[in-house]
Symmetry: C2
Subunit: 134 residues, 2 copies
DNA sequence: CCGCATCCTATTCGATACTG
DNA sequence: CAGTATCGAATAGGATGCGG
């Protein structure tokens, strides 16, 4: 049996009690899924190597894992062509495309990262001066 | 020194090349941050124990870690009152509140979890029949 | 080309016990 | 009450090598 299945982590329905959107978060924002969905959403149908090239730092193993998971969750489809050499193409599904408003909201918030950066600098500066006093 | 700092993981700016929203994802959707922000957003200013009670399965250690991180990122504020017993209150900032549209988009997508559930069942069923054939 | 298997490491998380 | 310190367990992720 494989080391990892295609299953999403399933945090035992834990944080759900305080936060009804946690299942969606686990689905869409577990590690690497966002870049994958984003790329397939922007650039359309694409083969394995192409995805690998675009998401430069991902390893093939992890890319396979995430793609299987996304396939199981119905967010992408996998098409296998038994040619030589073999070809596999991935494409985002309608369900995956329905995440577009979510991604748009995400995009619209990115300018605020500047403020986050400022907040971090302030916080770190305050921490440093506190260390000196201690 | 503490085991963990308040810093966000910083995935070496990795998936960013293929996906400009990755920094925001790391900020808002790292583990436990969504339930915390959600709770503070819904129910307002709140003390430590109260948060602990609402997010039932989180441990105080991890809750502290995440709150420090969110404070550093400028998404929540921490107010300490040197009384006996001591009191600490956390509150979401304006920057944190500006995430509201994002959370709304998330909420609106939750009905689609049914389709995800169906997709998983189909996938698992197909897997099982494939196993039998092998 | 695609991707699975195996081994191994690093990070993270939880459990527990203890302070101001 | 609001944390911190320390330890141990689980898990994700990387490296490498092989197979269809």
């Amino acid at each position: 049996m494989a080391e990892d299945t295609a299953r999403t982590p399933e945090p035992a329905a834990d944080p759900e009690n305080a936060c009804p959107v946690s299942p969606v978060v686990d689905l869409v924002f577990s590690r690497w899924t966002t870049p994958i969905l984003w790329t397939l959403h922007q650039s359309g149908r694409m083969r394995f190597v192409e995805l690998e090239r675009r998401i430069t730092t991902i390893t093939p193993k992890v890319l396979t894992q995430r793609l299987r998971q996304l396939e199981r969750d119905g967010l992408v489809t996998r098409a296998y062509y038994a040619e030589v050499p073999p070809r596999v193409e991935y494409e985002i599904t309608d369900l995956g495309r329905s995440l577009a408003p979510l991604f748009a909201a995400l995009s619209e918030w990115t300018p605020n990262m500047d403020k986050v950066e400022q907040a971090r600098n302030s916080y770190d500066a305050a921490q440093r001066s506190r260390s000196r006093r201690a």
